[in-house]
Amino acid sequence: MPADQQETLFQQKVDAEQKIEPRDWMPEGYRKNLVRQISQHAHSEIVGMLPEGNWITRAPSLRRKTILLAKVQDEAGHGLYLYSAAETLGTGRDEMVDQLLRGTAKYSSIFNYPTLTWADIGAVGWLVDGAAIMNQVMLCRTSYGPYARAMVRICKEESFHQRQGYDILVTLSKGTPEQKAMAQDALDRWWWPSLMMFGPSDKDSPHSAQSLKWKIKRQSNDELRQIFIDRTVSQAEYLGLQIPDPKLKWNEATQHYDWGEIDWTEFNEVIRGNGPCNAERLAARQKAHADGAWVREAALAYAAKKGERNAA
């Protein structure tokens, strides 16, 4: 079948909300776009373990320690499902990991911000996981079957993550003045970076239009960002915390919140590698990988020996 005819059939299938599966014909651009997006998503889960892992050894109660450890463990699991989903498109996990370690693959810039206090663990759960969920709920309906199915599993766990983060902040906001100040400080530092998680504004988003047409994405960056803001304001009010945006105001006419302007210079700098923790995050992943090389070699060597023995 000629390529243009195949492409028409492909688009018809997408338009009819049928899932594309690994063996189906797909345009090269669709495959490339998905590998890029899914591997970035997987890398984000893995790098995202670092800022939260920073507090596992300092969590203030055994219950909080247990919950945080379980959460970071979930992120590792999400990384695994996502690498597997990307592998169905013909790119191996080793190659994707290699791209991350060489610094050529991206991951969510939010993880280049530091977790400085215990309240940051609350803010990361509430805002960062909250923003991630907006994207992930949308991706449960993405056109590529393995990605959509991985997302269904991930979403169930992520909503628990968001609740645990919010629960930390509820406790802090009902606590001492010092605890409340800690919570406000965390919101002040995480609010704008969380809004940046939705990506560039639609007018500046290079991949968005095609991704929407292929139904890889189902809603635009700006739409999702607005829904997130609309939902989050009342949650901040319940906590008695102030969102650090003087322009934030309910708009009766649009039935949405009006809000200020993202600092796109900061956004672009962090993407370019100039965030507070970019170098540390990459170095931590490189070190784990380098230190673990002999472990992986030993496992392979042993498996090979065992295979030979079984064959003999």
Binding site: S61, V72, L172
Partner: protein, 252 residues
């Protein structure tokens, strides 16, 4: 020492061993040699911290002075921690982590199995659940030890070095203190020489498969059971307890 006093110290020790080892294993989360091992180590740490919560809660009840699991975990200093030295040593490289876990797991499994048939109903209940978890821990550490021993020259060398180095911390596992003697007498805790026989058999079996050499018994470190630790426990507790110590009496 009364049975009640012995039981308090013993429940604390069981809790401290699990908590400190769980804490050490959790340090791998995000930094493991392969993603699957980040997950496995987090799982094991979760089991151990779960056991610690049960044991410390019980210790608080036995003591009957209103101390919760968190009061016992976060507000005792290193001289009051009663774990063995083996579990508090730094995690080291992955060979050291695996060898330490293996040496402990091979002790922990028969211990929990014995407690699950003991005369104290609460310890019995906690141990019944722990047996399932520790069975998996021992399988995990044994499998990796065999991979290292029978893997590459480098992994063999690292595993043997860790084994030689950690061996001197194994004696303390089997040297009973007064609390353990009182409870063994009362049929609540097992005699440690019977646990040692099972431990020794497991060690021999796995080391043989791993083509590693069992070190000779020499000088053995001790002191953890009476709260005299290595220099490594203090910094670990300082990190773990930082928020509880900096903001006393606050809910988190």
């Amino acid at each position: 020492m009364t049975v009640q006093e012995a039981l308090f110290r013993y429940a604390l020790r069981l809790g401290d061993n699990s908590l400190v080892l769980g804490h050490r294993n959790s340090e791998w989360c995000g930094h493991g040699p392969v993603l699957e091992e980040d997950i496995a180590q987090a799982n094991i740490a979760l089991d151990l911290i779960g056991q610690a919560r049960n044991y410390l809660t019980y210790a608080g009840e036995v003591e009957d002075k209103g101390r919760s699991e968190d009061a016992l975990a976060y507000l005792r200093g290193e001289r009051e921690y009663l774990n063995v030295h083996l579990v508090e040593l730094p995690k080291g490289d992955y060979a050291r982590t695996i060898v330490r876990s293996f040496l402990f797991d091979a002790f922990h499994l028969p211990l929990q199995q014995a407690l699950a048939t003991g005369k104290d109903e609460r310890l019995k209940g906690i141990a019944e659940k722990a047996v399932k978890e520790v069975t998996y821990h021992l399988r995990h550490s044994s499998e990796w030890l065999v991979r290292f021993g029978d893997g590459t020259d480098e992994s063999h060398r690292r595993a043997q070095e860790a084994l030689d180095d950690l061996w001197r911390y194994t004696g303390e596992l089997f040297t009973p203190d007064e609390a353990e003697e009182v409870l063994a007498q009362a049929g609540i805790a097992p005699k440690l020489d019977t646990i040692r026989m099972e431990w020794s058999a497991t060690v021999d079996r796995v080391l043989k498969e791993a083509t590693l050499t069992r070190p000779a018994d020499g000088w053995m470190a001790s002191g953890g059971k009476k709260g005299v630790h290595t220099e490594h426990l203090g910094p670990m507790l300082a990190e773990m307890q930082t928020l509880q110590r900096s903001y006393p009496g606050v809910e988190w």
